[in-house]
Symmetry: C2
Subunit: 658 residues, 2 copies
């Protein structure tokens, strides 16, 4: 699409007007960024971004990520102006109010044109890396006819200063993701003041050192922006376009200062800006000729979409492509026969190994999985099923060597899941969910199907000691909304958990898996018991006095304790509480049956006891570890910290007799 | 100290022998790194590092940080060989066993020569940045006579690939920390294989772009190592020395491969290595002449220590310097008069503002505080008390503009606290504890007095929406061992919490503070009630049926609920549960008095309910928010999510009547 050069400044000024008016109405928000990047965004949306406002979810659209999510009025303006069904001008008038999809930061679950939730700085670019990976992978699988698009990012200084930036651009540079273009709002201002208050970095040199193409432009010179974007598209490497801008451009007394960053301009400055910009329309009113121009911006995308639809219709891959982009598993997919095999030949293996065996069944059956590990492939057991390496030379590969980049991996997985067409899983040690936690939270908030394969899930990892032994991690992840935390007790439960995780279209999962071997406890064929979250693995023989809840490696210990109690005539149920989030979703009658009011409820988990009282009550017994671990062989640690039947059974008996 | 060149290879080979033997005996560990870096470490410890094995805590020693903590046998070997009291050779024989201080990863609380706990990759360098900051600050305060030392780091590829590396080196480059020297074990191997599996970065160019001096050396050529270290010391910028090494050097069949990284070499390869190295001594036996050489390595340090002790004795700053390095607050330090002032003139202010007021009293009284914020100074209210900016031009300043580097800030604060002589505090939003969590955990594990000023602590922050609204964060931090999580309810409690945090010599604190204004609830003079963790703010008037526990902004709501209940003749206590960790440390009788068995216990907190059942039991009532928040003005959100007396009181009455 070509627009007369004279029209572009007017089109950009609409963004400025809407942004300052919306922030003013809300009396809260960030006008500086949308006003500063209005010109760059106008060039991007009128001449480069491939999108169809009438079909926001068109699979082959370019992805646009506003990594500097605080500048949310930029994307709301663009979506409204180009003719998306939402937001409406009424939504924009209600910016940052409870009833409006125009939230303080863009939320992927509120507006279709928002590809991902941004605001936590640095993660937008990192998710864009994942989107660009998914694009290249699906291109390799389905060809240029069906998949051939770019990922565009607008990022600020904060996105570049965060640690995750290093991980994300390192991955993108290494993988040669030339379809990724980052437009950096180089305004030299952060909240605290000028960037030179806290950084002296040569950002362009850093990106170049990381394998990126770098160019610069005057972010207020439309021709120069156009030149830079063309240059970025032409280069085979990922590109950083440093757009030199004036934050809050148009606000004559505040532009170029941190005063425009995170606060309304105030009525006087808004009036001055309107004068400066020659903007005479009332707040939230867009002159019809300018709106008409903006509506034309989506026309090339609509045409491209039409042509693409024809190609899809003619493609032999049509059904498979649609299935994958819809996120549906192949009809009839199940791990039932895999599980039947496990039950037929019980094994004593680590659940990380059981996960590998499950993946050997899953990966050939589900071509949409993309696995990986943050440099712990052999420890996380994430490589299975004959999937090749995903690399610059083989985007059809399905295994990613993420390097020592836990946060970057998790964010990239979010981006892949949001792109669609793939189901990402990736591994590290459970303790290092701390490093990736910001992205795990965005998995949960954005409702992405990302599967975290978190091995070495307790002091059972042994000698590596307290820095590597998770204590509080299970509790801290269980406290997070919309996340399944699963800790299977044996090979069968591990396969069940994989099946559950793969079927969560709108929820991420953490699989907490052992380093050490565990006996197989599930020996009979049947339904997926783990899907109930917690279930009775063994019913009391003697009259029931005790119910022991345990997870993962402690379920076998619970069974030992129960056996010892039964020997003394004390009936004890054993409940494997694989996933408390799923258990909490069961009907009350089911939960009451598992947690009867007339029994002593005991929890056993080699981790913080925090939270277990929701099942045991304050009158129950919580066996756990409310301190950091130590370095020693696992068996010594379990003994030292009291995870033995000899230590636990007397405590249960004492409690019963109290 | 000068050693004959011919002796150095022998001295280095002891490290190799000890490392492979200890890993072999433990049947677990990482021999590759100590064997690869033995030559570099030998040059460092025999000619550059300033240390006194007989006085490991000497204030003016150089700090040595083994950032690649998995190579722990390197530091254990060096400490033993140079004559530290611990570890003994017996400790090394028991590497990675329960009784040995030679843990899988080095732990600062197990060995005096270990400056910080490492293992979680990237954090060692980042803590070293904090140590170097503390050194320059104390140098500016106390002069060259008392403070004049370097910080040395050995780091691996993992430390450089992690995101935190970007934050740490950006800070160091900007602050011009020329006393910081990082020796990079450039072996081109990670656990998964060759580094080119996951990265294509020009690391040297990246460091140069960030304001560092960079040089390289052959890590197995003693003269070249010597040259590089001299060059690093001479340059006024922080230095990266790329030491080109062979991982596992000496193991003839495995060196240079990832097979040496994280597993024992095996008996056959150990035998081959002994042959290759010409090493004939039995395992764990050090030839006496080589041991004698190693013992000489500490002599220059001992002499320097002696001279320094004389200067200290003669210094007018002697007592103050000793006090600060001991971590003692000035005698009689108290916030009592500040609190008396608050009680005399009640105010309705945000607790973040109350924190600023407290800091205005604290900072002039405690010259050891070093404050800062990750680019949210005006929001975190962390700048108070007339402390100047810490910068390249003014290391005497006490306020750090950390930039948008939450993880780097937290790790730097750990390094400062470990260095000693300063008490660091730093701010960001509570939700971004996720970004810094890896370092918060190391604060807790290492027992450092770091104070996290975490504002915007609930949906009460309003319009910024769910990405910025903490939900699970209080619970997830409470689950962490050895961390105080404090959520004060008004200006008085905020001052009390500051007093508590400052007095924790071996424990970090998180202060969770509101964005929004809160009424002052504490109106009478008295002791520091918050120090009990939870206390009865208001006793029931009518016969007590209910106890309402609340924290922070919900305590006033709890008081409203209690008042409404009393109007209906239902007696209700209100308990401010400021810090549950401290409450749990109170005598049982105190806790039972606060949480009587015959009352309905209700918790109110605008956050996840996870964990509150430990006080309320399963029969109590938990008012909280077990979903993500939304973007709207705070008052709308509190109403929408049921945080009003109108919503809560009927739930309490229903429960009482059930």
């Amino acid at each position: 699409m070509t627009f007369e050069p004279a029209r572009l400044p007017l089109m950009a000024n609409v963004i400025r007007a809407l942004s300052m008016d919306a922030v003013e109405a809300a009396n809260s928000g960030h006008p500086g960024m949308p006003m500063g990047m209005a010109d760059v965004a106008t060039v991007l949306f009128t001449g480069h971004l491939k999108f169809d406002p009438k079909a926001p979810k068109w699979a082959d659209r370019d992805r646009f990520v506003l990594s500097a999510g605080h500048g949310s009025m930029l994307i709301y303006s663009l979506l409204y102006l180009t003719g998306y069904a939402a937001p409406t001008i009424g939504d924009i008038r209600n910016f940052r109010q409870l009833t409006s999809p125009c939230a303080g930061h863009p939320e992927n679950f509120l507006l279709e044109g928002v590809e991902c939730t941004t605001g936590p700085l640095g993660q937008g670019i990192a998710m864009a890396v994942g989107m660009a990976m998914a694009e290249r992978h699906l291109n390799a699988v389905f060809g240029d006819d069906l998949v051939d698009h770019r990922t565009w990012v607008i990022a600020g200084d904060g996105c570049l200063m965060e640690g995750i930036n290093h991980e994300a651009i390192g991955l993108a540079g290494h993988l040669g993701l030339g379809r990724l273009n980052v437009l950096w709002d180089d305004n030299r201002i952060t909240i605290d003041g000028a960037t030179d208050l806290s950084t002296s970095e040569d950002i362009k040199a850093r990106y170049e050192a990381t394998g990126w193409h770098v160019t610069t432009c005057d972010g207020h010179d439309f021709a120069d922006i156009e030149r830079a974007l063309e240059e970025a598209k032409a280069d085979p490497r990922p590109s950083l376009v440093a757009c030199r801008t004036l934050i809050g451009k148009g606000a004559p007394n505040k532009q170029g200062t941190s005063a425009t960053h995170g606060s309304p301009l105030g009525a006087a400055e808004v009036a001055a800006a309107r004068k400066e910009l020659g903007w005479e329309a009332e707040p939230f009113v867009i002159p019809s000729d300018i709106l008409a121009d903006w509506h034309r911006a989506g026309e090339p995308g609509r045409a491209a979409h039409g042509a693409w639809a024809g190609r899809l219709e003619a493609s032999p891959h049509k059904d498979e492509f649609r299935r994958r982009m819809a996120g549906d598993l192949p009809e009839g997919f199940s791990l039932a026969s895999h599980i039947a095999g496990l039950i037929g030949a019980p094994q004593k293996i680590a659940t990380r190994k059981a996960s590998e065996i499950a993946l050997a069944a899953i990966n050939p059956a589900l071509p949409e999985t993309i696995g990986g590990s943050a440099d712990l492939t052999g420890s996380n057991n994430t490589l299975a099923g004959g999937i090749g390496t995903f690399s610059n030379e083989n985007y059809a590969g399905r295994y990613v060597y993420y390097g020592i980049r836990e946060f970057g991996m998790a964010a990239a997985m979010n981006g892949m899941a949001l792109h669609g067409g793939v189901i990402p899983y990736g591994g590290t040690f459970l303790v290092f969910t701390d490093y990736a936690r910001g992205a795990i939270r965005l998995s949960a908030l954005q409702r992405t199907r990302v599967i975290y394969v978190m091995t070495h899930d307790s002091i059972g990892l042994g000698e590596d000691g307290p820095t590597h032994q998770p204590i509080e991690h299970l509790a801290s992840l269980r406290a997070m909304p919309n996340l399944l935390v699963m800790r299977p007790a044996d090979a069968v439960e591990t396969a069940e958990c994989w099946e559950i995780a793969l079927n969560q279209k709108e929820r991420p999962s953490v699989l907490a898996l052992t380093r050490q071997n565990l006996p197989q406890l599930r020996l009979k064929a049947g339904e997926n018991h783990s899907a109930k979250g917690g279930y009775r693995l063994k019913a009391a023989q003697a009259p029931r006095k005790v119910v022991i809840l345990a997870t993962g490696s402690e379920v076998a210990l619970a069974a030992d304790c129960a056996a010892a109690l039964e020997e003394q005539g004390v009936g004890a149920d054993v409940v494997s509480m694989v996933c408390s989030e799923l258990f909490d979703e069961q009907p009350e009658a089911y939960r009451a049956d598992i947690l009867p009011a007339d029994a002593l409820i005991v929890s056993i988990e080699a981790a913080s006891t925090f939270g277990w009282q929701r099942y045991t009550g304050t009158g129950g017994l919580n066996i756990g570890l409310d301190r950091f671990g130590a370095s020693a062989p696992a068996s010594d640690l379990f003994a030292r910290f009291g995870f033995t039947a000899d230590s636990i059974v007397p405590q249960i008996l004492n409690k019963l007799n109290a």
